[in-house]
């Protein structure tokens, strides 16, 4: 009964959504018309000054709050839409979110137009470039997987620069040819009037792959990291090319002449735009890192620094007509390793969640506005022009990708296969950036250009967006490894780095491993000392990785601690006792037996069952090194002994920390946005139950009154939380020095003060040691 009622409720929720949507839109409409009405009222009021109006008990003062009110309405609409889509699972599997959002935008635009015969100009370029785009780019830049990005930087640059140039000139040039061929002096807009420069300008706008659209679609298809980073990196870096080409052609159109000098200047300008953007971003990134070094007393505003410096980087770059996107990416990527070493765990979580939230809302708004603006704009549909544009774009992309891959494969170790090339070509989606740039045009042919741009955008987002997922399945393209980044893999990654550097040295040539190594050493020796506070600067990456893993699991353990204090008390005790012999004797020795009574199989099972529901993991662990499972005696002396032992064991904190390694978190795939909010684009640490590499302890409670014993231990374990014992015990166990303890203490406090969200995965730190 209950379930059926629930499902029917859920089914009605999308209908509720639609209802809500209609209400919102009507509200919007009425509110806006009220605004018009109230303004007219004021005029009439001023007319008869003589009659005294009664004191207005209730009035409508919409003017003052109109702008924020409307903004909030739109954002609310966007968020509700997002909510609605994920309640309809089948729909979101088939149709990518971007398509749905554009459709909603179209719907809303249509309703507004019908209601008021006018649509608010929502996708103005200022709003887009200053408010909607930066969060998305910052999110992408901050969580950019640096290692694959840098490894493939050559390929990415080739695609971004040469590919975009090729696209622009090919499309621009050929569309001019088509226009000339198809000119019809008697049609409304004579195609033949479109000069070569406007065509080239149009080509440059439409040739750029759009990061927003790529992110939106690729997020859902989970292809392997290489392809993802290639297409995504290209979409980010081609901004520089687009900016330069756009301004170049605009200038040329103003002046009317093109000379060779101008062309060379254009090239120079490209270098300046790209490198300048990166430098500006890096500068702000270093500033942010440096500032974060001193924020240990004002943890609350740490995220603010990150956001402000990044936004300033973007705006500063825009001031000088440099590439704002590249500046933002550089800022995020540069500041991340240092800032993360300095800020508290809470701030880290805040930054992550705010970025994800803003970028998510931005993206939704962009797509909705795209739909609305489509309804609004003045269009001129010219079959020839538009179909020619579409075909040329596709052809140009394919030729470009194939040609470039042919050249690039000579320099790559891991060559790009045909399948890869297809996905790269197919993934070249256009999006809102092209639209906004088109909006900014001043030419006479703006209408036809805009229509063509919108058509291409719609085509790529709808057709290519919807079909790419089945195509990926069909072609059996390698998908993303969802495996957890195990500690063995991490060790071997480091090992391989050093090995390859060594072999390069022996070979005698300075390959990129050598330079990478030099950069790392420089970073460690100088940069980290300046930018990272305290002792964290010395921590090599392997240790950092290990500690992160531990902290994550400690947090999870604390979070789950509500379920059973058993967690905290038993593992430690058991681990102590199990590890003690290991420390004392090498694994080759047979460990001593424990004189404790054995259990019957049935009882064991029962108890195991109880424990499983309480503990998050009950996997076999030290069986490998210690052949006995600890069996606890249920009688009173047993318990007292246990408690005493526990108190002693608590002092061996290192192994407690080690225990916290071995918790798993159920990994729920969820929707792309959910997975984006949960984990940054990384497969590094999905920890699935049942995954390998999660050693754990098997505890057999030999007690018929297991619930009671659990409760008793609950009380016992209550005041001594697992993790609190850290500072006191470290000194006894290991002689790593006082500084370590403080740091560990601080680290643990940092992470304990905020249980935070469940998954806290990280990319590689950009500059591994």
């Amino acid at each position: 009964m209950a379930t059926r009622g629930r499902s029917s409720f859920c089914r009605s929720l999308p209908e509720l959504e639609l209802l809500l949507l209609v209400i919102l839109v009507l509200l919007n409409g009425t509110v806006l018309s009220l605004e018009a009405a109230s303004s007219s009222e004021i005029h009439t009021g001023e007319g008869n000054n003589t009659s005294k109006k009664p004191f207005p008990v209730i009035g409508i003062m919409y003017d003052d709050v109109s702008v924020p009110f409307e903004i909030s309405l739109w954002v609310l609409l966007a968020s509700l839409m997002k909510l609605g889509f994920h309640l309809i699972p089948r729909l979101s599997n088939v149709v990518p979110e971007s398509c749905l959002l554009i459709s909603v935008g179209l719907l809303v635009g249509g309703i507004l137009k019908l209601a008021r015969d006018e649509v608010p100009p929502v996708l103005s370029d200022r709003i887009f470039f200053l408010c909607l785009l930066p969060p998305i780019i910052l999110d992408a830049g901050y969580f950019l997987p640096i290692r694959p990005f840098v490894e493939n930087i050559g390929t990415i640059l080739m695609f971004a620069v040469v590919g975009t140039l090729w696209n622009a000139f090919f499309v621009g040039g050929l569309i001019y040819g088509v226009c000339q061929l198809a000119q019809d002096k008697y049609s409304e807009i004579n195609l033949g009037n479109i000069g070569i420069l406007p065509c080239l300008l149009f080509g440059s706008i439409i040739s750029a792959v759009d990061p927003v659209a790529v992110l939106a679609v690729f997020e859902e298809i989970h292809i392997n990291e290489l392809l993802h980073i290639l297409v995504f990196g290209e979409s980010l870096l081609n901004d520089a090319v687009t900016v330069v080409l756009y301004h170049l052609f605009e200038e040329f159109m103003e002046s009317g002449l093109v000379s060779a000098v101008d062309a060379i200047l254009g090239l120079v300008s490209f270098l300046i735009v790209a490198l300048g953007g990166v430098l500006v971003g890096a500068f702000y990134g270093i500033l942010a890192a440096f500032t974060s070094r001193f924020t240990s007393h004002t943890r609350v505003i740490e995220p603010l620094f990150v956001f402000l410096y990044s936004y300033m980087a973007y705006l500063s770059a825009e001031v000088f007509h440099l590439s704002g996107i590249m500046s933002l990416i550089a800022c995020g990527a540069v500041m991340r390793p240092y800032v993360e070493a300095n800020i508290s765990h809470k701030s880290h979580t805040t930054i992550k969640y705010f970025l994800k939230m803003w970028s998510s809302v931005s993206e939704t708004l962009i797509f909705i506005f795209l739909g609305v603006a489509t309804v609004d704009g003045e269009h001129h549909w010219d079959w020839i022009f538009i179909t020619a544009t579409l075909i040329l774009c596709l052809v140009a992309r394919v030729i470009g990708v194939v040609g470039l891959t042919f050249v690039i494969n000579n320099f790559r170790i891991v060559k790009l296969t045909t399948k890869d090339q297809f996905i790269i070509a197919y993934g070249g989606l256009r999006g809102a950036i092209a639209f906004s740039l088109g909006f900014l045009l001043h030419t006479d042919h703006k209408k036809i250009f805009l229509t063509a741009i919108i058509t291409v955008i719609f085509f790529t987002v709808f057709v290519q967006g919807m079909t790419i997922k089945p195509l990926v399945e069909l072609l059996a393209v390698k998908k993303k490894h969802e495996a957890k980044r195990s500690i063995n893999e991490e060790i071997h990654t480091r090992f391989l780095d050093h090995l390859l550097t060594g072999i390069e040295d022996i070979c005698g040539h300075y390959g990129h491993h050598h330079w990478k190594n030099k950069l790392n050493r420089f970073n460690k020796k100088y940069v980290k000392k300046i930018l990272i506070a305290g002792d964290r600067c010395k921590e090599p990456q392997l240790i950092a990785f290990y500690h992160k893993l531990e902290m994550k699991h400690a947090i999870r353990m604390v979070e789950s601690g509500g379920g059973s204090k058993l967690n905290s008390s038993f593992p430690s005790t058991v681990s102590m006792q199990n590890i003690q012999p290991k420390i004392q004797s090498p694994p080759s020795a047979r460990p001593a037996e424990r004189a404790l009574p054995q259990l019957t199989k049935g009882r064991e099972e029962e108890i195991r069952q109880i424990l499983r529901t309480n503990l998050q993991r009950t996997r076999q662990r030290l069986q490998s090194y210690n052949r006995h499972t600890l069996v606890v005696d249920p009688d009173e002396e047993g318990f007292d002994d246990l408690i005493l032992k526990k108190r002693r064991m608590m002092e061996l904190d290192w192994k407690i920390k080690e225990m916290t390694n071995y918790l798993t978190v159920p990994h729920a795939q969820g929707s792309p946005t959910m997975s984006r909010t949960r984990m940054a684009s990384d497969s590094q640490a999905y920890v699935k139950p049942g995954a390998k590499g999660v050693p754990s302890i098997q505890i057999d409670l030999a007690s018929p009154q297991s619930p009671d014993s659990v409760r008793l231990l609950d009380e016992v374990g209550h005041d001594q939380g697992l993790t609190m014992s850290l500072p006191s015990s470290s000194s006894r166990a290991y002689k790593t020095g006082g500084k370590d303890d403080d740091r560990d203490h601080q680290k643990l406090l940092r992470c304990l003060s905020d249980p935070g969200p469940s998954a806290d995965e990280d990319e590689d730190e950009p500059i591994p040691t």
């Binding site: 170790i413 090992f495 391989l496 390859l500 022996i506 005698g508 190594n517 090194y625 790593t736």
Partner: protein, 218 residues
């Protein structure tokens, strides 16, 4: 073993090229480097490799140098280690780092993977008994962290322990009475099954001479 004539002989190069897969140009370059390293000798000794100054900063340089003299890397059936190697052995060791050609079958890819992983396994397994014990692994991690000073020691132990547990877990040690001595090569393969080593463990070998920036200190 197989000392070569001091002047390059195209016929022998062709043999080597077939055996190791390098192109003739690459072999020529590598031979030149070999002679540079060995001071004109026909055989290379450990001291020669220790002389390379840029290796000084490498935390695992001892293992790398050892790998050149480990007979198991010359061919699977050999055992023990040599004191000096000739150019052929040098090439064979280097060939482990050759990138695989793009059009290879799955079978070939698996073989290449095995070879590369075997190389790394041999580097871990210092006593050559075919097992990487906890001590061996601890040593590896300690070396990796050796450049980071004192704080590495205990963490290294903890990390190595955690890693060994993971291995044991991966190979499915469910039997509590089974004693886990160490990682065998098969376990090692299974452990790194997600690690795409065939595309990562590669060096770009030059086809033409390179300027001698890389100084030797002696």
């Amino acid at each position: 073993m197989g000392a070569l004539k001091s002047t390059p002989d195209p016929i022998e190069y062709a043999d080597l090229s077939e055996k190791t897969g390098f192109s003739l140009k690459q072999i020529r370059v590598l031979h030149k480097r070999f002679r540079e390293l060995s001071d004109g000798d026909d055989v290379l000794r450990r001291e020669h490799l220790r002389c390379i100054s840029s290796l000084k900063y490498n935390p695992i340089r001892v293992e790398i140098i050892e790998a050149f003299f480990n007979r198991r890397n010359f061919s699977p059936s050999h055992q023990g280690s040599a004191d000096e190697i000739g150019f052929e052995e040098f090439l064979v060791v280097m060939s482990h780092f050759r990138p695989p050609s793009p059009k290879i079958t799955d079978e070939q890819r698996k073989n290449i993977r095995r070879e590369k992983l075997q190389f790394i396994f041999n580097m871990h397994d210092s006593d050559g008994d075919g097992l990487v014990t906890l001590e061996d692994y601890r040593h590896v991690v300690e070396e990796l962290l050796s450049r980071s000073g004192a704080l590495g020691k205990e963490t290294a132990r903890a990390i190595a322990d955690a890693a060994m547990f993971e291995v044991a877990r991966t190979v499915g040690h469910k039997d509590p009475n089974e004693f886990y001595e160490g990682i065998t090569f098969e376990h090692f393969l299974k452990l790194l099954s997600n690690f795409d080593i065939e595309s990562r463990m590669n060096i770009r070998f030059l086809k033409s001479d390179v300027n001698p920036f890389c100084q030797l200190c002696c």
